[in-house]
């Protein structure tokens, strides 16, 4: 028997909206409501609201917290209070333990980690942190909503106690009341659209959700399928697909999130060497140039021979062509290279492409 799935505090809201629920990282989560493609387009064109309460929140505080985290995280952590940073945690061999966002708050750091990796991150941090630096798992106490899309501010504005959150820059974070609920409001997300992520007390999420759904032009409730197609159009990696202990940030094209000059984190030597010498394989995004939808696990063919493996694939709701990501030999990863995908025995042509695959950007507000 499978273990019982965990439920977020918004479970009843999802059922009431007629969501198709499914298992993800040990959680019973909404896959889609009315339809994943409509939800995807709503996020690109207006706004969508995601329950991402399954994600983990770890807090690190106390004197020496920053130095301790620099031994665990790949990025430079050169952020003051009120800012976040995309970063990774690696093992000694440079393999990815998790990718995450670390936020600097006035009195602590908060790490928002993947649900499936929260335990691994805790273990990894626990082994690194010295006396006096405290580590706390807040995952069960903190709910998280992602309000994403160009119309995010219109949905949020009427609920804010002060307008300060509307002025946040990309990757900034602030505290405020939203519909009377105390929230951390971060200008982050994983859709490629501007928007915010709202972190609030677990049991208050339904009140926050209801308030957002009751504004004049409410966001469309959006599920994990749309979340996946949105991030894939941007070429953002997903742990378990593009990222794993068997891959390094360098192979995944995440050199920009690694402080190789001053870094003191686990695996830095391996990453430094890979950055200098190159890696045999690199992560590449691609689009199909004929009908067909690539799927994870399928072979990438170069000159007719298997040369790589698809890690994610779908039909892009915006481009209406098959898109995906794959690890391929480094020379093949250059954008514009002709490849093919073995789609269940049928060879379908494709071409590697620059990321993002669509014209979206999370930066304009």
């Amino acid at each position: 028997m499978a273990d019982a799935l965990a439920r977020t505090s918004l479970h009843g809201r999802h059922l009431a909206l007629g969501a198709r629920m499914g298992a993800f990282a040990g959680w019973e989560m909404p896959l889609h409501y009315e339809g994943a493609r409509a939800e995807h387009r709503a996020v690109r064109e207006a706004a969508g609201l995601f329950d991402v309460s399954h994600m983990g929140q770890l807090e690190v505080s106390g004197p020496g917290a920053r130095d301790a985290l620099r031994r665990a995280l790949t990025n430079d952590l050169a952020i003051g209070p009120g800012r976040g940073q995309y970063t990774l945690m690696c093992d000694a061999g440079g393999g990815v333990v998790d990718d995450l966002i670390v936020y600097a708050l006035p009195d602590r750091y908060m790490l928002v980690v993947n649900a499936s990796n929260a335990a691994a991150c805790l273990e990894h941090l626990d082994a690194l942190l010295p006396e006096g630096v405290e580590l706390a798992d807040r995952s069960a106490e903190v709910a998280m909503l992602a309000l994403q899309g160009p119309a995010w501010a219109e949905a949020l504005r009427p609920l804010l106690a002060t307008p300060a959150a509307l002025e946040l820059e990309y990757f900034e974070i602030a505290e405020d009341l939203v519909a009377g609920v105390p929230c951390l409001i971060a200008r982050t997300g994983y859709t490629g659209e501007p928007g915010v992520e709202l972190l609030c007390p677990w049991d208050e999420a339904p009140r926050l959700w209801d308030a957002l759904m009751a504004v004049d032009r409410p966001p469309a409730p959006a599920g994990l399928v749309a979340r996946d197609t949105l991030r894939l159009e941007m070429g953002y990696p997903l742990y378990g697909q593009e990222l794993s202990r068997a891959r390094t940030p360098i192979e995944a094209g995440l050199r920009w999130a690694c402080d190789l000059e001053g870094g003191v984190f686990a695996g830095v030597d391996v990453l430094r060497r890979q950055a200098e010498e190159g890696t045999p394989e690199r992560l590449a995004a691609f689009r199909m140039t004929e009908p067909g939808i690539p799927r994870p696990g399928q072979d990438v063919l170069v000159e007719g021979r298997p040369a790589g493996r698809v890690t994610s694939g779908t039909l892009s709701p915006c481009l209406e062509v098959g898109i995906g990501m794959a690890y391929v030999p480094a020379p093949v990863a250059a954008p514009g290279t002709d490849i093919a995908i073995d789609v269940r025995g049928k060879t379908k042509s494709a071409r590697t492409a620059r990321r993002p695959l669509v014209g979206a950007s999370p930066k304009p507000s």
């Binding site: 198709r20 889609h32 339809g35 994943a36 493609r37 009908p291 067909g292 799927r295 039909l315 269940r344």
Partner: protein, 131 residues
């Protein structure tokens, strides 16, 4: 918009959630309401060629949603005489009208007696209730 749940009484049903409508020596195949609902929005249809033979209980093509791929199984054996181009052009027709405009292939049956092993509507509903 997705169709309302229904299982027409004039069809025969295969346990893999495929239906067949017999029209003389030919038959039309498609997937049931249950199958399209489980799959979600259909976005791609990969049909067999006209002239290909299909074998009972074997996959003859694929339907894909944004998230998943589903094999489609032949409820009976025969030769493909037509493929529904409308579904190739607009795959969501399968969700909108699974028993009508969303049909998948038309087949000349090679062994109509195979149909006897399929379920009628009450039997299929009972089968669904047990899933």
């Amino acid at each position: 918009m997705a169709a309302e749940e229904s299982y027409p009484p004039d069809l025969r049903y295969h346990p893999e959630h495929d239906w067949v409508r017999v029209e003389g020596e030919e038959a039309v195949f498609g997937i049931t309401w249950y199958a399209q609902d489980a799959l979600g929005e259909v976005v791609y249809y990969d049909p067999p060629e006209v002239g290909a033979t299909v074998a009972k209980d074997r996959s003859y093509g694929e339907l894909e949603s944004v998230k998943a791929v589903s094999d489609i199984y032949a409820p009976a054996s025969g030769e493909v005489v037509a493929v529904n181009q409308a579904v190739r052009d607009r795959p969501e027709v399968v969700n909108e009208d699974p028993y009508g405009e969303g049909w998948l292939i038309r087949v000349r049956l090679s062994d109509p007696s195979e149909l006897e092993s399929l379920m009628d509507e009450p039997a299929y509903r009972e089968y669904l209730a047990g899933l």
